[in-house]
Amino acid sequence: MTPAEARQRDRFDRKSVAVAEKMLRRMREMTHKPAALEPFLETLSRIFVDREDARKPQDIPTVGTYCVMVPPEMIYAQGAMPVKLCGGSYTAFSIGDDISPRDACPLVKAVMGFEEIDAMPVYQNCSLMAVPVTCDCKKKLAGWLSARRSTAILHVPANRERDEDMERFVGELYAFSRQLEGITGQPLSYENLSAAFRLTANAQYQLSRFIDLRRKHPKIIRGTFAMAAMNAMSYTWAPEWTAQMAALNDELEAIARSGENAVRENQPRILLTGSPVVFPNMKIPLLIEEMGGLLAADETCMGERGLYDPPAVADRTVDGMLRALANRSTRPCTCPTFADNRRRIYRIRQLIKDYRIQGVIYHVLRGCLVYDYEYLSLEEEMGKLGIPIIRVETDYNEEDVEQLRIRVEAFLELIKYGGNQS
């Protein structure tokens, strides 16, 4: 290590830990924090503050995934543990900034930064990286990563209507399975696949309970907490997360029964959608709730989206299950990297109905073109529904916080006193 590198490493160590700690502190300081949330925050703290690897029951390899379109079921089935590695660290971002074009998105820059600095065990210890080719930045990331590590590149169809495209993606999954076999020595089998399905099924069952609770009682938990729990899932062994979530659900159910609410009655209910919100970049959710809004739901892929869609196994065979996974990973996905993505608007409309949303905040990471593209059509649709919406463009930098605070505050005021919505 050259002295310059050592200095950079030192700065990274100090700064990234400080940012993660600060975010965790801000979350812990919020009111109405359920006790059962603590395990999720601890997971985040272990990974980002203590710099530990993800906890696993046995010594098995980990596979880093860079998008929700990589099915975790397959990774569990073949005897490895999936971790989601989309990065949200500003410190890592600044390192990645030097080795990527100016206009690349912060998420990919952060990933490259983490990879470059080589100080995070979750990243370092991965035996395989799985990168679906979604947006341009991910595509270049896939190439960059594969030059340094063993990487599986999954070709995702650009559209989902044609059956041939689905068939091709099923083929991609078989190829991915062979790569997994290469690192774990375990071939895909019906037994291990169905066991893995059960792991995620239980997690998804708990998530469904959670969603159901939130729909019935939109004020039962702060959205920031929900997003933290979903972020923690990225680094948690599925059954462990399931147990933590079950505990949280039980606690929330008790709260619901006793009639207590997580927040005051007249807080505007906000939906957050747009580019991924990855810990420790919890800037926007925190701002919304610190300014007196209630983040009632989110439509982002490190949030609820990450585990929302279950695979529907119509055919109980290896092939049937892979088809279910291929379907689940692409067809319902609201990611704007697909050419036609009308379903996202419908999805948001449904969320608005389910959570009685009063305003939408559209998060755009600077450089994330695909999300930015979809803002206009959503704005138009929201206009028809009479739901106010603002676009917030930012990156992982903390410098614009004051400016954002003013905008978010004004938006919340507009909803509270605008009077035209109930």
Binding site: R178, E191, A201, I211, A312, N327, P332, Y346
Partner: protein, 407 residues
């Protein structure tokens, strides 16, 4: 242009071959009983009700019954051989392509106990089994047959002791229909109209014995976890074409002097089970196709069945409807993946008069409810009877069936 020509040529050739096979079906015997060899032909000309007085079926497991079951047993054996051969061939193929061995391994367990859950699916199986028994042995059990009622499904009325008669006979023998008494025409048309209005293809999903047999084959494969054949749009197009050809044969063959019954797979099933010795012509080969294809592709024959399609045609006025809430739907495609009829529109349709209640029923829909069962979105798909919801997709229901099943 060249492609189109090729398509038209192969299509015509296919239709011709099928038509010739159907027309000369009676000359391709699969299994004939010497003493009754002409019985089927006779029945085609006479009125079934009258023959009912002359013939009675054999009691189950009597020597006569076993004899009557001989052709069906042969059919089962041939089907079994075909299935085993297919599995072995595929094993070879996958091995060569370096596919996971488990794609074709048969003896695997998933450590999951089968859980019986009361609901639409269970009711469907219950009704299917009950109507299978009643349709086939109804006369023997209850002592009466409602032989005037002509259910428009392939419950073969060559079995003279089944619960009701079936409309398929007169549909495929329009010449006989033309000479029938007004009374009989009234019953025939009346049964069809009432069934189509009240149930539509719900009869396919719940009642038809040939449909039931295919579902049993599918269930068998599910139990063995043998990989099936998943069809894509293109293959469904082929099936759709075959369906129209069969429909033409079904309606027209009687008029040009053939008999669909020598071609129809259903004749091998119900009469034999009721103990009627029935000579089988090309039907025997058809039944092998039905069983083998039904094993690898759920309800494959229903995709080409002319009777079911006719029953589905008036779906616009039928009281049973499949509806979709386009806002709740995430276009996840689970319904399409689950649908035995490959009806893609249930998954893609987004526009409609009322976005929350788009009628997605088609003439192909069996109303089997598989799509609703696999739909993970609350209220995205549902079935209505006269506007009343009676089966609705629900996420928690879905998750309970899918997850370990706590609670």
């Amino acid at each position: 242009m060249r492609r189109n020509w090729k398509k038209i040529m192969t299509g015509t050739a296919f239709a011709l071959i099928l038509g010739l096979l159907a027309f000369f079906a009676a000359d391709i015997p699969f299994f004939t009983f010497p003493e009754t060899s002409d019985w089927a032909m006779a029945a085609a000309d006479e009125q079934l009700v009258e023959i009912a007085e002359m013939e009675t079926g054999n009691v189950v497991f009597s020597a006569g019954w076993l004899e009557a079951m001989l052709p069906f047993t042969i059919i089962l054996l041939i089907s079994l051989v075909c299935i085993v051969l297919d599995v072995l061939l595929r094993k070879k193929l996958y091995q060569k392509n370096g596919m996971p061995r488990d794609r074709v391994r048969i003896t695997h367990r998933d450590g999951q106990k089968p859980r019986l859950r009361f609901g639409f699916e269970m009711i469907r199986w219950f009704v299917m089994i009950a109507s299978f028994i009643l349709l086939i042995w109804g006369g023997q059990i209850l002592g009466v047959t409602l032989s005037q009622v002509q259910l428009p499904v392939l419950a073969c009325p060559y079995n003279l002791e089944q619960g009701t008669s079936a409309g398929c006979f007169l549909f495929s023998h329009l010449d006989v229909l033309a000479e029938s008494s007004l009374d009989e025409i009234f019953w025939f048309a009346g049964s069809f109209v009432v069934c189509a209005l009240l149930f539509g293809r719900l009869l396919c999903g719940f009642v038809c014995p040939l449909g039931f047999v295919q579902d049993v084959m599918h269930q068998l494969r599910q139990g063995l976890h043998i990989e099936g054949v998943s069809l894509t749009e293109k293959l469904y197009d082929v099936l759709r074409f075959a369906k129209w050809v069969l429909l033409l044969i079904f309606l027209g063959i009687g008029l040009i002097g053939g008999s669909f019954c020598d071609f129809c797979p259903a004749i091998t099933l119900s009469p034999a089970l009721a103990g009627f010795k029935t000579s089988i012509y090309f039907s025997g080969f058809m039944m092998v196709i039905v069983l083998v294809s039904g094993f690898f592709k759920r309800r494959c024959f229903c995709n080409v069945c002319p009777m079911g399609y006719l029953l589905g045609l008036p779906h616009k006025v039928s009281l049973v409807k499949l509806k979709k809430d386009a806002v709740a739907c995430t276009e996840c495609g689970a319904c399409y993946e689950a649908c035995p009829m490959g009806i893609k529109s249930i998954f893609t349709v987004r526009e409609g008069k009322n976005e929350q209640a788009i009628d997605v029923t088609t003439a192909d829909c069996l109303l089997c409810g598989e799509c609703i069962r696999r739909c993970p979105e609350d209220g995205a798909l549902y079935m209505t009877f006269a506007g009343k919801k009676f089966y609705t997709a629900s996420r928690l229901k879905f998750m309970k069936e899918y997850a370990d099943g706590k609670e």
